[in-house]
Structure formats: C-alpha cells, structure tokens
Amino acid sequence: MTQRPYGIMAEFRTPDSLMDAVRATRRAGFTRIEAFSPFPLPDLADELGIRTGIIPWVAFVAALIGAVIQYGSQYWMNAIDYPLNVGGRPLNSWPTFIPSTLIVAILWAGAATLLGLLVILRLPRLHHPVFSVHSFERVTNDRFFLCIHGEDPLFDGEATRDFLQGLLPQAVREVPACD
C-alpha cells in the first residue's frame, strides 16, 4: 500500500474563485483544509473560522509582566537591596521609575507579539510538503491554492481529486508526503 499523501491541492486564478471553492469544500463536509494566497484575505479567514484573538492577550500579558519586573527591580535595587539616597528623595521615588517601566512594558509586548507570532505560525520551517508542488511558488505572486489534507476523515485519493477537479481550478496536483 502506498503512503497516504500530505494532501491534494487545487490552483485558482482569483481570490473569488478560491472563496467559492472553499465554500463548496466546506459544504461537502471536508474539515482539514488550508487555503493559500499572495496577500491577506480577511473574508476568507472569517469563512475558515480563523480566530486571532490570542494576539492581543499575548501582548497584554507580556506588557504586564515586563512592567512588573521593571518597576519591581528598580524598587528592589534602589530602595531595598542597596538603598540609594539621591538628593533626599524618597527611596521609592516612583515618578522617576515610571518612564522605563512604560518603555520596558512596550518592549515585552512588542517582542512577545512578534516572536509569539512566529511560534504560532510554527516558523521558521524551511521545508514543507507543499513546496514540492509544481507552480506553488506562484502563491507569493499571483496564484491562489486550496489544499485538502490527507488526514481529513473524508479524504479518499481519487474521489477527492475528482471533487477538486469539479471546482474548475487551473490545475489539481497531489502533495506528496515527505518525511
């Protein structure tokens, strides 16, 4: 028995035809599908039920941690561990601790969001099965792709290929598994 492929991929010329194809695929009951496009398609993301709500939480929690660490370390270092009297100011002279607290909160939020993004997207990943598909390199230029994964419960080699063929794509190609 041959190994089950990674999936089957159909190529489209316009975002609208990709949208129609995604709708038809979901109506047909496929659940493990992935769409690829050369630019962001927010409507299609909604259609696929993609929720990005975690991003602001990552930023918020990181900002909070950064702020607490920065204020706490300033307070601990200048008021407790090595009390530093500068011009008779109170040891916990909070107004002077605020600027760097805010800045470091932003540092944590910004770095956590952008590095967290890479973690969420599982990048870097230089090799991926979809890259072996002929003409997939046009996804970064002008072509739109829809992939039905081999793990989909309804996946059935020839039948799935025929189904995708019925959506009138430019081409249908198999994505071989590789590992």
Partner: protein, 437 residues
C-alpha cells in the same frame, strides 16, 4: 487582476534581484563607505585617546555628541510614528512609504545609539547601565535619565527592527520564489523562514503587525520625551522647563517626516518607482511636512512666550540664545526649519523633485541647528559666571557626525539594493481591491 498584480511584483522585485545595479549606486556606496571608514577612525581615536580629542569642556560636557544623538533620535521617532499611523489608518500611502519609513527609523536609531555609548568616555563599560549583579554589588541609579535612555534606545531598536523584519517576511518569500540564481534563492529562503502564505498565517501576521504598530505610538512619545527629560531635569536655566518634551516631540516629527519625504523622492527618482509612489503620495507627504513645520513654528513662538513669562536668569538664558554668541544657530534653525518649508504651500513645489529634496534636506539641517542651539547655546547662561564659556567642535567630532551620515546612507543603499522598498503584498492587495470595487 493577475497579470497586473504580476507586473507590480515584477517591477519591485526586479530591483533586488537584478544582477547589475548601475554606476550611481556604486558611486554612492563608495562615497558613503568612505564616510563609514571615517566613522571607524573617529570611534577608534576617541576610544584609544579618550574624549579629550573632542572640544568639550565644563559646562559643555555633551557638545556635538548629544546634538547628533538628539538629531538622529528625532529622525528615528518621526519616521516610526509616521509609519505606524499609516498602518493604523490603513491609509493608501502606507503601501508606498511604510516599508522604507520603518527602514529609515531603524537605520537612524542605529546611528543614534552610537553616540550615548561613545560619549561615556569608557565605552567598553556601557553595560554598567544594565542591572546585572556586579562585583561591587552596586545597582544602576534608576532615577537617572541615562538609564531611561538605555531602555528607550534598546527598546526602539528591538521593536522597530522586529516590526520591519516581520513585515518583510512575505516579501522575502516572493523574492525567494522569483529568484533565478540558486544561492540567492536559498539566501532569501532562509530569511523568509519558510513563509507559505496560508490564509491563517496572513490573518495572524496582519493582526500582530497592526498591534505592534499601535505599541510604537506610545513608545515614540515616551522615548522622545526621555531625550527631552535629559535636559529638563537638569538645573540649567534654559533647559529646566516642562515644555521641553513637547518641543522635542513636535520638531522631531517635522524632521522625521522631512527625511521620509527626502528618501521617498530620491527612491522614486532613482528606482523609477513612479507608479507605486505616485505624485499624489508625494503631494500628501509634502502637505504633512508643511503642517509639521507650522507646528514647529508654533513651538518656537511658545519658547519665546515662555521666556517672557519666566523671570531672572531663565529669561536671560533664552534671550541669550537668540541674541548672544550662538544666535546664528538659532536663526539658522528658524530659516531652515520654518521659513524654507513654506515653499510647500505651492502645488508646483510639492510636485517638483528638486523642491522636495531641497525642503526635506533643509528641515533636517534646521532641526540640527535647533539642537545645537539648545545644547550649546542653552548652556551659555548659568548661575555661575565662572562657567560662561564657549564651545566649538573639533575635527574628531565633525568626523563622527559625518561618519554616521555615511553609515545611514550606506544602510539605506544596501536596503534599496537587496530588499523590496515597497510592500509587494500590500500593493497586490490594493490592486485587487481597486479591481473588485
């Protein structure tokens, strides 16, 4: 839409993928490379010999170093702020100028970061401002603006570079997929991190990018204010003013916008990107520069009014800047950063490449003189007559300044050579939307 979209991608992508790049680019890179060598020379000399090679004295302990630091920070902040606002407003202009406005900000912050480190006198001990468990068990003094500055510069450098890079990933993937040479393909491929452009990836990418663009806004205001606090928290009569942060933020924005205008016009002319950075974009940028110059003018007036309301030595200090030994600096700043930009009221000037280069350059010069006037002219009047001295920069300081300009130009030249200066995926997106509406 496909054929048009491809045309866009091709024109922008062909710039980094071209094999040859013309004599002008090489000439400019050599010239800026020579200045980078000068930078290296002045940095080595001040490290080996010490800050004695500079013209600084008491009370002028900062001199050129802080002038240039404050100037570069202004450019970095102005350009960053502008890029962030474009992204958040989803303005059409963002496609054209956002990418290199972020680039300008990042390169300017690199240039700015050199000065506070080198002016420490013992630059190899700069890490002392970082709270680490030192042998003597003494922590940094967090009430000092120098430590605020350390966090501000490093945060700005890290957040701007990350934002710039994350925005570049999809375009690096385009270059990877379009490259004909295998080595070039691999190189872009590594930096594209394996971007596949799945709809889910795009959704997260855009959300994160916009969110960090929001974070840049308060960062810029706090950072520019921190620079101003370095003056405001001292007891020097001319500096000890609550209006200082506002002055630095507003004039810094004018300066950042003017440099973005300058670079936009140069790129448009040099890379023949006329249809992506169109006349309307430049016109709008010109209007923004003019508006920000008017805000600067308001703050110069505010400076004089504040001095009139002040009494004694504070008033004397400000008027000494306007009429004393360093009055030339102040009035040069007024002419270059306020009067010359008024040219932009004329539509013909906003549409003219030469006029835009001239005005962009002149605001940069004007704000530099303003910083000079504040930092040097402002120190001339103090409570102690014994420190009423003058300051003039030495060759080592001038070389350092010219060197950072060379570094900035060299980084910008390498950027336009190897990376897409206009966001290709945003352009594809816009063209698609235009087509479908």
């Amino acid at each position: 839409m496909t054929s048009e979209a491809q045309a866009v991608t091709r024109t922008v992508a062909e710039v980094p993928l071209a094999r040859r790049f013309g004599v002008i680019w090489w000439g400019a890179l050599l010239a800026s490379g020579a200045l980078v060598l000068l930078l290296g020379y002045t940095l080595v000399s001040v490290t080996l010999i010490g800050v004695g090679v500079w013209g600084i004295n008491i009370p002028f302990v900062w001199g050129f170093d802080l002038i240039n630091y404050a100037w570069w920070i202004g450019i970095a902040n102005g350009a960053s702020l502008f890029a962030a606002i474009l992204v958040l407003r989803r303005h059409d202009l963002r496609t054209a100028v956002n990418r290199f406005a972020e680039g300008v900000a990042f390169f300017a912050v690199i240039c700015a970061g050199i000065f506070p480190i080198i002016h420490l006198g013992r630059p190899w001990l700069f890490y002392w401002v970082f709270p680490y468990p030192a042998t003597f068990q003494v922590w940094p003094q967090f009430r000092s603006t120098l430590t605020w500055d350390f966090w501000a510069i490093s945060t700005h450098a890290i957040v701007t570079s990350l934002l710039w890079y994350v925005g570049l990933i999809p375009d690096l993937a385009t270059l990877r997929d379009r490259a004909r040479n295998r080595t070039v393909k691999r190189l872009y491929g590594v930096f594209a991190l394996g971007w596949r452009g799945s709809v889910r990836d795009w959704a997260y990418h855009q959300r994160a990018y916009r969110l960090v663009a929001i974070l840049v806004l308060p960062l810029i205001l706090i950072m520019q204010s921190t620079v101003a606090f370095e003056f405001a928290v001292t007891l020097v009569p001319d500096w000890h003013e609550t209006r200082q942060p506002l002055h630095f933020v507003a004039t810094g924005l004018a300066q950042g916008l003017s440099i973005v205008l300058l670079v936009a016009v140069l790129l448009r002319w040099g890379l023949r990107l006329g249809s992506y950075i169109d006349e309307g974009d430049i016109d709008l940028l010109g209007r923004l520069v003019l508006a920000s110059a008017l805000v600067s003018a308001y703050l110069y007036v505010d400076e004089i009014v504040a001095a009139l309301l002040a009494d004694g030595i504070a008033q004397e200090a400000t008027f000494n800047r306007l009429t004393g030994d360093y009055a030339g600096l102040y009035w040069t700043a007024i002419v270059y950063s306020i009067l010359i930009p008024q040219l932009l009221w004329l539509k013909a000037a906003r549409r003219s490449t030469v006029a835009c280069i001239f005005v962009g350059f002149s605001i940069g010069v004007g704000i530099w003189f303003d910083r000079f006037s504040i930092i040097v002219g402002g120190l001339q009047t103090d409570y102690l007559p014994s420190i009423w001295r003058t300051y003039s920069p030495t060759l080592a300081e001038t070389g350092l300044f010219l060197g950072t300009i060379g570094l900035f130009a060299a980084l910008l030249l390498l950027f336009v050579r190897f990376l897409p200066v206009v966001s290709m995926f945003e352009t594809r997106h816009d063209e698609h939307e235009e087509k479908s509406s």
